[in-house]
């Protein structure tokens, strides 16, 4: 339609009949237009495409470097295919996830997208938006290359839908060596009582908040570690698949232990992100912080060397993992290219290219430790031998909705400190979200 300016038009529809007619006419036009908008266009390169659009939220820093390494490997392994960067930056993946959700709804998925491995994928799986790639796992030998605990966590009703590119560990406590030495602490605590005794020692040295922590999700991480200690790895995993009841008295004990630990933390925790809490440790204003092992890469990048780490006391040899993984979406333009990308991601060379730069460890157990920095070598040794459990704060144990509910519940606990309320909230969340 072309609208040309009309000179000397009427004096405006001020009479009753004309106004009603105008409304009616507009209504009809609007209905017609709305109907016409219903059909969606089908675009894309068709079956002959050789482009692989890789959708991630890795737009800068170590993550971008890791992705670049992977792309280089992809260029060598998959000649004839071209990589297309579909990264959406910002919001720790929140922006990317909302863009992805609308693309999946419109039926125009990227050739592959990044998602946390494990339960966070369940929404996509339920919606039938990702393909089963179990057969490729066998073909590429990934079932032997990945540890059994990981394979178990990845498998949904006998099928596997994603290839993890890396592994991070969540249940690690980072320490400031100098603060601990000043307090006369010489060895790592092995149980919760020992940890609390050490926290007391640091506190006695005038450090009011020896355990640094940040807002809701960092508190969820700490709480999950306490749960592993009090329930043990099997029962802890059961919390997320419905085998363990959240009303279990052991959970009550864990919440009380967590509450005790919170008394050693900074009171402005809800105002801090994990990097702010990390700064408290670096500045010697705190002795300890529980955080995922991306902290090692971050501390190195910030040129802080006086740090040490240990597994959360009482976790034994439990390795709480989380992973970024890639999938094959249903209706991808170039499934051949995507499969080649996934094969590269899972391959020894691809995992090495990605993880040596990103600061994580490979999911494969056959990687050579010598290629990696000090912390990663220790984590790789643990990865082979330890018991793997998933993490809710990072989506390997629970779906996004569950994760949101848990973060909110922990946020409420941070201010109210109401033990029965937290247990009830978590039990309700589990009943809403656990797979029936």
């Amino acid at each position: 339609m072309i609208f040309s300016p009309v000179k000397g038009g009427g004096r405006g529809g001020r009479t009753r009949i004309t106004r009603r007619a105008a409304v009616a006419a507009v209504g009809v036009v609007a209905l017609l237009t709305a109907g016409a908008c219903g059909s969606s266009d089908d675009n894309g390169g068709g079956s002959g495409s050789t482009k692989v659009e890789v959708f991630t939220w890795w737009a800068d820093g170590g993550e971008k470097a890791g992705l670049d390494g992977l792309v280089k490997q992809f260029g060598t392994d998959c000649a004839g295919q071209t990589f297309e960067n579909g990264a959406v930056a910002g919001g720790a993946g929140a922006n990317a996830k909302s863009v992805l959700a609308s693309r999946l709804q419109q039926g125009t998925p990227p050739d592959t997208f990044q998602a946390h491995a494990g339960a966070e994928l369940s929404d996509y799986i339920l919606a039938g938006q990702v393909e089963d790639i179990s057969a490729d796992y066998d073909a590429w030998g990934l079932k032997q290359a990945f540890p059994q605990g990981l394979i178990d966590n990845l498998t949904v009703e006998g099928k596997i839908y994603s290839v993890p590119a890396n592994i991070h560990r969540a249940n690690v406590v980072w320490t400031n060596k100098k603060v601990l030495a000043d307090a006369g602490i010489t060895k790592d605590p092995t149980d919760l009582a020992g940890f609390i005794a050490d926290l007391e020692k640091v506190k006695a040295k005038g450090i009011k908040a020896p355990l640094a922590i940040g807002k809701d999700w960092t508190q969820l991480m700490l709480f999950e570690s306490v749960l592993i200690t009090d329930l043990g790895p099997e029962k802890f995993t059961g919390l997320w698949n419905g085998a363990t009841d959240w009303n279990d008295p052991l959970v009550t004990k864990a919440i009380n232990d967590f509450k005790t630990l919170l008394t050693y933390t900074n009171t402005d925790r809800d105002a801090l992100d994990w990097t702010d809490a990390e700064k408290l440790v670096m500045d010697g204003k705190a002795g300890y912080q529980l955080m995922g092992d991306w902290e090692a890469a971050d501390l190195d990048a910030k040129k802080f060397t006086d740090y040490a780490w240990f597994t959360f006391p009482g976790n034994g040899d439990t390795f709480q993992w989380l992973a970024d993984s890639f999938v094959l979406p249903k209706g991808a333009n170039n499934p051949e290219g995507t499969k080649c990308w996934l094969k590269t991601v899972g391959s020894a060379a691809g995992q090495k290219a990605f993880n040596t730069t990103k600061g994580s460890i490979p999911a494969r157990t056959d990687a050579a430790p010598a290629d990696y920095p000090k912390y990663q070598q220790a984590a790789m040794a643990d990865w082979k031998s330890a018991k793997q459990v998933p993490s809710c704060a990072h989506g390997s144990a629970c779906s996004q909705g569950w994760q949101g509910a848990a973060n909110s519940a922990l946020g409420a606990f941070s201010t109210k400190q109401d033990v029965p309320a937290l247990q009830k909230a978590l039990a309700t969340a589990a009943s809403q979200f656990v797979k029936k």
Binding site: R11, T267, A271, S408, T415
Partner: protein, 297 residues
């Protein structure tokens, strides 16, 4: 045919915006309403109609009463923000109206914060409202500590009961100047004859303002309230940049966003509709009022 000539061109000119409004405002409101009564709780799509279940669940079954908590937060924020912004706006306008020196300068100073986006000022206020006290104090608390006013140090927005009142401070800071500009225009719009007549009748300054000038400002005050009120109810960016999305400072707009991120479309739509109704409660009477006032004029 003659009638068509009469209103046709006008309609033709209006139609692009009418069509766009019909689709992108009213059409989408209808769509949201439809989603809010469905059971589209994940990417799987809707399986059917559930009536008002999503709405009642928000009030009765939400974990930790999350939704009513967000409404409570919004109420505290809105009341403090409106009262504060109206008070300071009126005060500044009154002072400037009395004809102090350098009026143009002060007008610019007060109005300027409005030019800053909520996101940018939110980041600064996040730092200013650092909740640490005593030796670790930062931002405003450090200033207060430096002045020896330690007792005035506050936990600001991290206070579990009145945190949202602190959250309203940046909003007041940004929009009080706008209210001032509205009132100043109102003051200037009052004909000088009225003041002269009051003076002739021997009215004191207090009487002049109380009985002559302020009554004339009622429409301005109402407009200011409505404009601030609907901004306040939809507040999102400021809170996101001061505290980020979290339980403590969650308001319905942020709750919608959080719910959408977890693909719970039906719940997000239900919250949106409630938010829309809340805003409508404020806006619609105002529209009726102005419509009537225009007709009478």
């Amino acid at each position: 045919m003659r009638k068509l000539r009469h209103w046709g061109p006008g309609l033709l000119l209006l139609s692009p915006s009418l069509i766009l409004l019909a689709i992108f405002v009213y059409g989408l409101i209808a769509w949201t309403t439809k989603v809010s009564v469905s059971d589209e709780h994940n990417a799987l799509g809707s399986k059917g109609f559930v009536g008002l279940e999503n709405y009642t669940k928000l009030f009765t079954e939400d974990i930790n009463d999350r939704f009513t908590h967000s409404l409570k937060n919004l109420a505290i924020f809105t009341v403090v923000f409106l009262v504060g912004a109206m008070f300071f706006g009126l005060l500044w306008a009154f002072i400037l109206e009395r004809g102090i020196k350098g009026e143009g300068f002060f007008r610019t100073v007060y109005l300027f914060p409005m030019a800053v986006s909520f996101v940018a000022s939110g980041v600064v206020w996040r730092w200013l409202m650092n909740p640490n006290k005593g030796e670790n104090a930062g931002g405003l608390n450090a200033v207060l500590g430096g002045l020896g006013l330690d007792s005035l140090q506050s936990t600001w927005w991290t206070n579990p009961n009145w945190g949202m009142a602190s959250m309203a401070i940046p909003a007041m800071w940004q929009l009080a100047g706008y209210v001032m500009a509205l009132f100043l225009a109102g003051f200037r719009g009052i004909p000088a004859e009225l003041r002269e007549a009051a003076a002739m009748d021997g009215a004191s300054t207090y009487r002049l303002y109380r009985n002559v000038i302020f009554p004339q400002l009622t429409p301005v005050a109402l407009s200011a309230l409505i404009i601030l009120g609907h901004m306040s109810m939809k507040m999102f960016d400021l809170i996101m940049s001061v505290s980020g999305p979290q339980w403590l400072t969650e308001v319905p707009a942020i709750y919608v966003w959080q719910t959408l991120l977890t693909s719970d479309y039906a719940k997000a739509a239900a919250i949106s509709i409630i938010l829309l109704l809340l805003v409508a409660v404020v806006i619609v009477p105002y529209l009726i009022y102005t419509n009537r006032a225009e007709k009478n004029a």
